[in-house]
């Protein structure tokens, strides 16, 4: 039994892929399992981009209620001259609380293990490897520019514009501004064979939003063939989740280690190009962009340097023997069956 299991799930990467595929199915087509009406969805505040425009979905992402409350409850109430009383803020509080009940268990694993859009981008990247396309990475100077974008999108599209729509300052369509440009809306609805969201409005602001959304979607789809997780890097949900990242007992831990300076495979393995996982340790290594995918721990060739922990429990830790097996299947960049050998001193050696 154990042997069969270890054949099906030989690595953490395989386990993650299986979880991702299951969650992709559950979140995109899961209404037949969880239920069709909103009251039957898994949470209604999921920390992953699961879209309500998908008529067969299993859950909705937390950004939907956040925008909705800012638009229809808080914004409209202020516009009508009512005080922003507890009654108006309560739904927002409960949305965050409901989000947190899930989030606290898995932290940003929702990005790396559960988000349908994250999974789809990874699958497209695998396709790129099948076509033997070269891979692209973001250098440190590029990530420095890309990283603030997610916060900007969170503040502008998820918080400010919906509130402004409620206040009557901006048009009604901006009430769910992020949903209007979200690539997950297009990806998940197209996966269910529904072309409505891919068809853009023929006039007004709807056209502008549609043009941006579809261009972004096309860019992400093609870009993901060579660059890992292009949208994740600017995703406002990554920022939203990052806000609560330190409140969860689930975390990435990296010990200081002498050989790191000459190595850096963890950085090469990281789909988010987080250089801090290589150059830092302790708190600084668990960066706000980390999706807890665990690839850095899988590809670290030294025992116990990087680990994923839940409170005092170590769920996974880097180990030389594991690394040897892992690297035989896949390179840190995701090329399949490429063998790059690292000796104990961290020097690269090729077989």
């Amino acid at each position: 039994m154990r042997e069969i299991l270890s054949r099906i799930v030989p690595t953490l990467g395989r386990m993650r892929l299986l979880v991702q595929l299951f969650m992709l199915w559950l979140l995109v087509y899961g209404s037949s399992v969880v239920g069709y009406y909103a009251a039957e969805k898994i949470s209604g505040t999921l920390p992953a981009l699961s879209c309500a425009y998908d008529k067969r979905d299993g859950d909705y992402c937390v950004l939907i209620p956040t925008q909705h409350i800012l638009h229809h409850r808080i914004g409209e109430a202020i516009a009508q001259g009512q005080e922003v009383a507890l009654k108006m803020l309560l739904p927002l509080g409960f949305t965050v609380l409901s989000f947190f009940v899930f989030f606290v268990l898995l932290n940003k694993m929702f990005c790396g293990w559960i988000c349908p859009l994250g999974t789809l981008q990874e699958l497209v990247y695998r396709l790129g490897r099948l076509f033997r396309l070269d891979t692209r990475r973001l250098e440190e100077r590029h990530t420095a520019k890309a990283r603030p974008v997610k916060w900007l999108l969170l503040v502008l599209l998820v918080l400010a514009l919906p509130l402004a729509a409620g206040l009557g300052v901006t048009p009604h369509e901006t009430g769910d501004a992020f949903c209007q440009v979200c690539p997950s809306r297009l990806a998940t609805t197209l996966l269910t064979g529904d072309a409505e969201q891919a068809a853009i409005h023929t006039g007004g602001l709807g056209f502008a939003f549609g043009a941006v959304a579809n261009t972004l979607f096309g860019f992400v789809l093609v870009g993901a063939l060579a660059l890992r997780q292009p949208f994740c890097r600017i995703c406002p949900l990554l920022a939203f989740n990052a806000f609560f990242q330190r409140t969860s007992p689930m975390r990435l831990v990296k010990q200081q280690h002498d050989r790191c300076a000459k190595c850096g495979i963890c950085h090469e393995a990281c789909p988010m190009d987080i250089h801090e996982i290589w150059q830092s340790h302790g708190r600084g290594a668990f960066h706000e962009d980390c999706t807890l995918c665990g690839r850095c721990a899988e590809f670290c060739p030294d025992d116990g340097v990087i680990s994923i922990k839940l409170g005092p429990l170590t769920l996974f830790r880097s180990a030389r023997e594991y690394y040897k097996r892992r690297i035989r299947r896949e390179s840190p960049h995701g090329e399949m069956k490429t063998i790059v050998w690292h000796d104990r001193k961290g020097r690269k050696d090729h077989v």
Binding site: V34, G35, Y36, Y37, A38, A39, E40, S43, G44, T45, A52, D54, K55, I64, P65, H68, I69, H71, H72, R73, L90, P91, F94, T95, L97, S98, V101, F102, R132, L133, D134, R136, H172, E173, E196, A198, A199, I200, H201, T202, G203, F207, G210, A211, A213, N214, T215, F217, G218, F219, L221, V222, G223, L225, P230, S331, E335, K337, T338, H350
Partner: protein
Amino acid sequence: MVARVMLAGCMLLAVADGVAYGGEGHGQHAGQTHQPAADVAQPWTTYPLIEETSASMRNRAVFDVRNLPALSVQVYPPTGQGKFPERFAVQGGDAPYESLLQNGRFALTPGRKGNYHWITARAEVDGEVRVASSVRYFSNPGPAPTAMLAQPKHELEIVPMPLPREHWHYREGESWKFLVRFQGSPQAGATLRLITEQGSRVQFVADRNGVAEVTIPQDLPLPTGGANAGHHTRQKARFVLVTSHDKAQKHYVTTFNYHYIPSAMRDRSLMAGTIFMLLGGLLATPLLRRTGRGKKEKLNA
């Protein structure tokens, strides 16, 4: 278990009053958008109807019962336990209740719990049993209407399977399933007639499970206020579904009336959408240029 209960409780509070979400974006739910001028005297059908009037407000819906000499209506808030996680949360809304009609009119004010409300009115005229039914959605937390719909209410019934989800509508060109049942049993081969305010008349036949797939006709005129008129001025029209049955020298006629909105694709262009997707793909092609990285890795192999 405790966490589940807590979670479900939070969820329901989160969807409290005005926080129910769905694919139609942020327009009001079908039952809340501006109503067609139901109070206008001009009849569009002689079948029994329960129609919302323009006197409705956010949390108080006013209805007229038409073409039916009923004295009261029965209101069924969503009740009973549903699937996980709802069964741990709100244990139903209020029990079904009766509301007396005044000049054929009544007001429906929901309790704190319960979103979908099923409304029926029944009258016997010359040995014919006539039942009108409709539904109203309020933005309140509450269980899914699955159990409420499953509950038998009259002899002959038309049961939506399912109702449009929160914020969704019946739309032109869409197919929706309806169950026809008599005394709780599905009626295989039953006929469902669809009549729209625009004058369409279509007939559908239930399969062996008593379920008919009803396609909403594309008969709404093009709007005069521009294609992209927005949620709050959304065009809509009324429809009624009618079925009948004979048993023990009694004739039964039951209706379900609601409304529908224009086709989803009316003011959208798939062609334009595809062009912008291709543009996005084109903009990403520099990322696909050879970098030598793949080559290096292949050499490493």
